[in-house]
């Protein structure tokens, strides 16, 4: 279980996060949603341990963040950056295995793990030998997911996984992503500004606004029982939403 408790963070006197709490049970998928400037990227960076926090706590399976070494924490959180974030000078496979090689995994162990993950995301070996600029958007996302899952992390953290894809691919990959999450059985946190995507992939949605959690709940909860007038206006501002009738 990943827990973020009462987190406060300010940059140069400006409060960015105020009393943010979020808990994702093991195996659950949660979406963190908000418009730009809502503080979701800051929360993501705190979870990745890229920046510190002013007050509050981050815990993984009841162990505080400080208990983990830098590398140990990185290996527990599998991160899929926006647009995949593959290193352009490495092939797909080199991207996937970079950390494992630095941790001096045995080549056989690496090969076995690659085979497992390839099956999971349905990617050909030939595709893995290509460089990022030779891959399609969907292939990049799959390689990035393989890379994030390589060290068998407890939590998968995805930053705007679909943002750069065109709508048709996006819809196909969303289906697939959902299946991958189900097979992986991992705790998943998706950071997105797209409510439709959040509603499709995650069972729980946390809406962040001005550095505060406005509401955490399922999509029907947000739609039918908004905790704040902003929740309703945020939902209305989204262009493609399933009609309310479909949900009842």
């Amino acid at each position: 279980m990943l827990e973020l408790e009462h987190i406060y963070k300010a940059f140069a006197g400006k409060q960015v996060l105020t009393d943010v709490s979020l808990a994702i049970p093991t195996g659950a998928t949660c979406a963190l949603i908000g418009s730009s400037g809502s503080g979701k990227t800051t929360l993501l960076r705190i979870t990745l341990r890229l920046i510190g926090l002013d007050r509050g706590a981050v815990r993984l399976d009841d162990r505080p963040l400080a208990d983990f070494g830098h590398e140990a924490w990185a290996d527990r959180i599998g991160y899929v950056p926006q647009d995949g974030g593959l290193f352009p000078h490495l092939t797909g496979q080199q991207n996937v295995t970079l950390v494992a090689r630095l941790r001096r995994w045995h080549p056989q162990q690496i090969a076995a793990r690659i085979a497992q993950l390839q099956e999971l995301v349905a990617l050909d070996t030939a595709v893995l030998q290509r460089f990022p600029h030779e891959l399609s958007g969907g292939q990049i996302q799959r390689v990035a997911i393989m890379r994030a899952a390589m060290m068998d992390p407890a939590v998968m953290l995805l930053d705007e996984p679909m943002a750069a894809l065109d709508p048709l691919i996006r819809s196909a990959l969303q289906q697939e992503l959902k299946a991958i999450f189900a097979r992986l059985g991992k705790t998943v946190m998706i950071v997105t500004h797209d409510l439709a995507e959040a509603a499709f992939l995650a069972e729980r949605i946390t809406l962040l606004h001005d550095g505060r959690v406005l509401q955490t709940g399922s999509y029907p909860d947000l739609l039918l029982r908004p905790a704040d007038p902003f929740v309703t206006s945020f939902i209305k501002a989204q262009r493609t939403l399933p009609p309310a009738a479909d949900l009842q």
Binding site: E71, W73, I77, Y79, Q82, G85, F87, H89, L90, L102
Partner: protein
Amino acid sequence: MRAWLCAAIALGALFCVPVDAADRIVVGSKIFTEGYVLGELAAQSIEASKPGVPVVRKLGMGSTGILFQSLNTGAIDVYADYTGTLAEAILKQPQLRSVAEIRAALLKMGIVISEPLGFDNTYALAVPEEFAQREGLHTISDLARLHSSLRAGFSYEFMDRQDGYPGLTERYRLGLDPAHVNRMEHSLTYQAIDQGAVDVIDVYSTDAKIKKFKLRVLDDNLGYFPTYQAVWVARAGFVSQYPAQWRALRQWQGRINATTMQDLNAQADIDKRSIAQVVAGFRGSTVRSQTLAGQIGRRTLEHLWLVGVSLAFSIFIGIPLGILAVRHRRTGQVILTVSAITQTIPSLALLCFLIPVFGVGTKPALAALCLYSLLPVVLNTFTGIRGIDPRHLENARAFGLTPGQILRRIVLPLASPSLLTGIRTATIVSIGTATLAALVGAGGYGVPIVSGLSLNDVPTILTGAIPAALMAWAAHAAFDLLGRFIIPAGLQRSP
């Protein structure tokens, strides 16, 4: 990191070798035919003296300033100069005319001069014989009639010396049009006057080219130019340490008259005989001459050594400096500014500054080349790293890479195209600049270029210029090839 440290220490050690190496005599010379001839004469005379002492020739080192500094630091032991030059350029007392006065003044500076060798090589003005006849020119005063239309080609040294052009115009009331007074490299003024581009040039009175180019030397009817009697100029330490060798040099006192000197100059300049052979013929001995291929081979090695060492320096120092400049903004600004300023110092001036520190020979040349090749490497490392998408660096941290792993696995590979460009630029700049190393006696392809330039001998220039151009071209091709191995395949997108 350890490799860098070792390289830095090795380079430091290279520069720290004491300048005054053991038993050997270093002979310098000025950078024109007569300088070479007298330098070679000194070298051969010392070699023939007993007891034998090895002689190192640093001939064609440049102007009086460089030679005198080298003498002061003990980088050279002896060279030939002229009394007028010593009084004007070194002592800054142009009123001193007699050898005895000049000797007394120099002795206070730890410098000893011999008695005059026997000829006076003074400045003079020369015009084409034909032009002189047409205009009825015999004396410098006669020029005053033509001054507004007269076109002059004067050497840099002549233009800047108090006893040169400035004083001359005052004494003779010459009102030359400044637009018609061209400052030129001395050896090129002869070509200029031969092709009719200028009407009057400054010459040395023993210059063989006066005859070759059919020039008339104008009479200094107001007695303006001081006398320039050739003398040996030596460190006092050398004179006391090597009395027999000093005697060997002084045997020439009063024995070389102007006609002899003009003849020796003509053999080198016009007959294109090697300086060593001209001098040996004069001394009545013979020399072994080296084949052209052998010479080029030796100079290639010297040149490669100069370029290689300075390149190693720029890589092992320049890349870390570039990385440092990215990490610490303020330090970075200082590093970039200093290396950019270094780049703007003219190479001859830089060599001159470095002689008091490193003496003459390979060390000042290497130091100058290192400084020049630093900027392209530092700058390209800096811009290469700054150009990396910062998200890659943050992602690498999120994946748990340590700062060292990020540098080796992410930063350097991503910056490698820019780094390689910097190193390539540094190499090509080095190959070109290293030709100037000959001016401080460091050898390389510059030797035939510098001596060919001062002898106005194009084939000799080409024996240095062509191999240098080929080396630059080869370096260019080598870097293209190297790029395929060093730059990660993922970054080598075909256009």
